[in-house]
Each structure stands twice: as C-alpha cells, then as structure tokens.
C-alpha cells in the first residue's frame, strides 16, 4: 500500500481520528469510574436511595 | 498555602467546575473569528492580510466580556465583604483574582490561536508570533478590564457597561498588539519596538489595575 507523496497528511488524518476517539473513550471511562467511586462512597455512608427503601423509582 | 495562592486556587477550581466560566472566553473567541469571513468573504489573501487584526479584536472582546462576572458573583454571595477583611491587602486579593481569571480565560484563548490562524490563512510560521503578541498583550487586557469589573460590580448593567467603560482604555494595547503581529508577518517594520511597548503596557497594568480596582471596590461598596 503506497501512500504516495502526501503520505504525511493521510497518516495525520488517521492519527487525529485515533486521538479524538481515544480522548472520548478515556473521558467516558474516567467519568464512569468517578461516578462509581462517589456512589460507593455514598453507599458506604449509609445513604440509601428512596427506591431502595420504598421500592419506588428515583432516577 | 498563603492567602494569595489560596485565592488563586479557589477561583481556578470554581472556573473549571461545572457552572464555571473557564473556557467561555475561548469559545466566544473561536466563534467570533470563525464567523468573520462570513462578513468579509472567503477571499484567502484578503483574510491573510487582516488575520492578525481579526485575532486581536476577537481576543480583546473575549477577555473583556468574560470579566464582568469576576466580582459580581462574590458580591452576590457575600464573599466580597470577607475578601476585604483578610490579612492580605485588597490590592493583592484583586490581583490574585485577575491572575486566576487570566489563567482560565486568556491562556486557552492563546492556545487555540494557531488553529484559528489556519482558518484565516495565516501561515504557520506567523502563528507563533501572533500567539506571542497575544501572550504579552492579554495580561494588560485582563488587568485593565479588572478596573471595569470592579466599577461594574455594584452597578446594574454589568456586562456591556464593563466593555464600554474599558474598551477605550485598551486602545494602546490593541494598537501595539496588532502592530507587533503585522510586523512579524507582513512587516517591513521591525518586530521589536511595538512588542516591547506592548510588554511595558502589560507590566504597567499589572500595577495600575489592582490598585485602581481595589480603590473602586472600596468606594463602590455601600
């Protein structure tokens, strides 16, 4: 696969896509971990959601 | 950590968190510069000639408009009273807030300048120079804008009034900023003189801004 004279721009484009996608994935994963940590921390302190108590539904 | 750094830390943490205004200046700057060609037309060499001017005007408006909430939020929740009762002189407290504001508003603005330069067809080599002039000029904009923010804190029409009050004061910074940028890009004229004057303006405003703003705050608070 010969990328020709402008190979640098083709590779750069793919690098940009990889960077943006990994940034999105990283941000979502970090956010997920942070929310889980806070949730565990809150549950440890005995804070229970209304739904767990009254079996209702609280988003 | 002494009070000065504590205040800078608090303001930056507030700016970065949800509800803060950290990147607002940079977003406004990006939008204004990206929309100018819709008025001027897509003619690339015209854009290249007035690129630095558009970038500087965008930076000027962005850093001023983001300043009007600097003291207003503290005034509304009662923090301003306590800031005036600290062991540190008010001038230093005001300077700390300005530094925190510069770091969260002007710095991102300078970082995205090269990208915007591409849109205005300003060559990459010139982009470094324009960013340098912005780096030297934005402290002056922030510290002069500080005076407007202190004056506007107790007045009703905060935001726009601040711009109207302060814009005339920033004319020298704009003139030498754009002159230095153009000198770097097109310029037969040397880059040195306008740039050094720009740095002098910034250094002067580092002193004038906080002193005038603190005085304005003391007068304003009834």
């Amino acid at each position: 696969m010969n990328l020709g004279p402008h190979a640098i721009f083709i590779i750069a484009s793919y690098v940009v896509v990889v960077v943006v996608v990994t940034a999105l994935i990283g941000w979502i994963a970090a956010d997920y971990a942070a929310q889980q940590r806070i949730l565990r921390n809150l549950e440890q302190r005995g804070v229970t959601r209304r739904s767990q108590r009254a079996k209702g539904d609280a988003p | 950590m002494n009070p000065f750094l504590a205040l800078i830390g608090r303001d930056m943490r507030l700016a970065i968190r949800v509800g803060g205004g950290a990147l607002m200046g940079a977003l406004f700057y990006f939008t204004v510069v990206a929309m100018t060609p819709f008025a001027i037309g897509p003619d690339l060499n015209l854009l290249a000639r007035i690129g630095p001017a558009i970038l500087w005007l965008g930076a000027l408006l962005a850093s001023l408009l983001a300043l009007d909430r600097l003291f207003a939020t503290d005034h509304e929740d009662g923090s301003l009273d306590l800031l005036m009762m600290g062991t540190m002189p008010l001038e230093l407290a005001v300077a700390a807030k300005a530094i925190a504001h510069w770091l969260t508003t002007a710095l991102p603005l300078i970082v995205i300048t090269p990208v915007l330069g591409l849109m205005l067809n300003v060559e990459m080599s010139a982009m470094g120079w324009v960013a340098l002039t912005l780096l030297a000029g934005t402290p002056a904009l922030t510290f002069i804008g500080l005076i407007g923010a202190a004056l506007a804190v107790t007045l009703r029409r905060g935001g726009l009034l601040l711009a109207v009050l302060v814009l005339p004061l920033t004319v020298p910074v704009l003139i030498f900023g754009v002159a230095a940028a153009n000198a770097a890009i097109i310029g037969p004229a040397p880059f040195g003189p306008p740039f050094t004057i720009l740095c002098a303006l910034s250094l002067a405003s580092l002193v004038l801004g906080p002193v005038a703003a603190a005085a304005a705050l003391r007068q304003g608070l009834e």
Binding site: R45 | M1, N2, P3, A6, L7, G9, R10, R13, L14, R17, V18, G19, G20, E76, D77, G78, S79, D81, L82, L83, M84, M85, G86, T87, M88, R218, L221, E222
Partner: protein
Amino acid sequence: MSTDLIELCAKDLACERGGRLVFSGLNFAVSSGEALVVTGRNGAGKSTLLRLIAGLLRKSAGELDLTGGAAGADEATVAEQSHYLGHLDAVKPALSVGENLRFWTTYLGAPRGAPIRPALEAIDLAQLSDLPAAYLSAGQRRRLSIARLVAVPRPLWLLDEPTSALDTQSQSRLAELMRNHRAGGGMIVAAAHGPIGLDDSRELKLDAQAGAGS
C-alpha cells in the same frame, strides 16, 4: 485566645449612606468578655453600624478603634481582628463544605495547616465535609458560615441577626460558641430583633434618624 484586655470604643460616630444620615453622635465601648446587642427598628442602621465597624463602610465622623489585644495587634486594622457574619453566607455552591471552610481558614489568616475538622464538628457538619455546598439547606449554609468564626480565632465577632435560618438546636449550639468566645476574652457586637441567647449583654438602642441631617 490569650488576649489581655482589649477594648473597642467609638466616640460620636456618624455614618452617611446615599446622602442620608443613618446615625450620628454614637458612643459606646466594648471590652473583653462583653457583648453589645444593637437594637432598633428596621432602617435604624444596625447593619450599617456593624459593616462600619468591620471596615466595609466609611464613617463620616467620629472615632473608632480597637486597643490592646495580642502583641503587634495594634497596627492591624479593626477589620483584620474581627469576623463579620452578615445576612449572606459567603458559601460557594460548586465547592464542597470542606473546601469552602478550608479556603476561608487560609484566607483569613489561620496558621498553616490549622485543622478545620474541629470547626466542622462544632457546627455538626463534619460528616458532610465532601458534599458540594449546593446541596446544603439554608440552615446548614448558615452553620457553615458560622464555622469560619470558630476556625479562625479573632477577638471581635460582628454578628448581623446570627440566628436567622437557624433551628432551635443550632441556636443553642451558637449560644454555646458565643459563651466560649467571650470566656476566652473575645467580644461580640450583634444586631438582632429578639433574644439570640446572649446572657448579660448590654444594649445599644438606635432610633431611626427621621431624615435628620442632609
């Protein structure tokens, strides 16, 4: 607070705001361990007097100074030696309870690394220390504001209707804190309508200046 005898005294103090003479010819003195309750109808200038003592307003006539106190305290202005508890709580919703108190403790000059936990425990908010302040109720925000007075030792407390938004339990806790402060040689000047749990305090009645003066 190992402060020897300190005294706040005012000699025919006057203050004008927005062209209206709020009060004039005011004389009072408060010394260690004493409490002065400023009373009067709305608009009589209670808050104005407190803000004037705190250095937030400019007096138009008279003398006001704080003498005595710890060594080297004399050049410190009255503002640096007093706490002001106004109607607003100076609490940032985006910061957590601990961060709010930590900031004010550092800013108002407590020694480095002074623990904030005892102050949080004094107002019973210790277990909420990493909860963002946005979630606090008005009473809890008020107590967080009071914690600042406990965390940073300053001789003079200026309290503007301190018990507003506080329930009975918190009011008794505040009364306790005020007693300890006075026992330690501190002074309190408070503006209030009804009783705020200050036993044996002197009263300073401000009658509204019916448009007297300019």
